[in-house]
Symmetry: C2
Subunit: 206 residues, 2 copies
């Protein structure tokens, strides 16, 4: 009986699920993750809010389902940050990066990145993923050790997104063939520097 | 009279020009820039090779026209490299980057990048642009000062492509608002390091 109920929760009515996902995508794209409530999405989809919770769980879970990302980067980033000192975090991030990107979700991850980079209306996917899953996680784990986390995170994102482009989309050699230890040694220090360089003067009005 | 002739050379027969460009795009994509001759492209387009020279000039010029890039990055990179020491090249590259990317060709450049990143069949555009305009230029100017130029260039590309993504596609702040001096100071040292770090051990079989 428990098994049947569980399967029911995951599958649900395909039409209702699809309508909720379409409404969520539309509202996240137009208004941003933060300002859209579960209640708004329910109204847009014409369903009861409890049904969204029933099908998808939390707002984070709904966002991940809406953008069709097979894997939430937040716990991966959290593991990198809590598992040692700031020095060396860049190297650990490169190990996690390879584990995720060379793993079973590779094709799906690449599809999400391609879609988000190709259509202006879809850039919100990577942008909100970055702001609401990555920056938030870094803030939680390093907020008491480094200042201006969102600033530092945007520099790190520029190197990491560029690595995705160079290694997996353009397949530039030798970048495409380096293993995690080689990427940790070559690109890790770039990330460590972005976590520690002075950034106060890069922020307008501060 | 000279004026009429010049205009004639640029415009030509629209159908013939379009056929040459389509043939060039197809062959560059399938077989790569190096292995495709002007003669091959002429045969594919069903025109005399002299007509390609007449309409487009050199093979480099034809490539730039085929990928619809409004500006050849090679002379810009050359100016950065010959205009000072290796130390500081990263900062100078960031100044050139902003001049190009925030200049009049912004929309067109962004369209080329989006297209190349979104469709697997189009990734050859950025890849060949990198290999045959950028790496070659860096090799010419720094080949006697630094080893393994293509390796270093692939790391630099990972940071620069990532900057395009973060600043112009995702518009992450504060990266999207930084001026050239601020980018030179924050990202320049990353590029300088990629130009000087040891890389021999990152190359298989070397």
């Amino acid at each position: 009986m428990a098994r049947t109920k569980r399967a029911g929760r995951r599958s649900g009515n395909p039409d209702t699920r699809a309508e909720i996902l379409a409404a969520a995508r539309r509202l996240f794209a137009d208004e941003g993750y933060e300002s859209v409530s579960m209640r708004r999405i329910a109204a847009e989809a014409g369903v009861d809010p409890s049904l969204i919770h029933h099908y998808f769980g939390s707002k984070d879970d709904l966002f991940m389902a809406a953008i069709e990302l097979p894997l939430d980067p937040a716990p991966e980033v959290a593991a990198v940050l809590k598992d040692g000192d700031i020095e060396g975090a860049g190297g650990r991030l490169m190990h996690a990066f390879v584990k995720i990107w060379d793993g079973p979700h590779h094709e799906k991850l690449l599809a999400v990145v391609r879609t988000s980079l190709s259509k202006p209306a879809m850039s919100f996917v990577l942008k909100q993923l970055f702001e609401h899953r990555i920056v938030k996680t870094v803030q939680e784990h390093l907020g008491d050790q480094v200042d201006h986390v969102p600033v530092r995170a945007s520099f790190i994102a520029s190197q990491v997104f560029g690595l995705v482009v160079a290694r997996y989309i353009l397949k530039l050699e030798p970048l495409a063939s380096l293993n995690e230890a080689e990427l940790a040694e070559s690109i890790g220090p770039t990330i460590d520097r972005y976590l520690t360089m002075p950034v106060e003067h890069l922020i307008d009005g501060d």
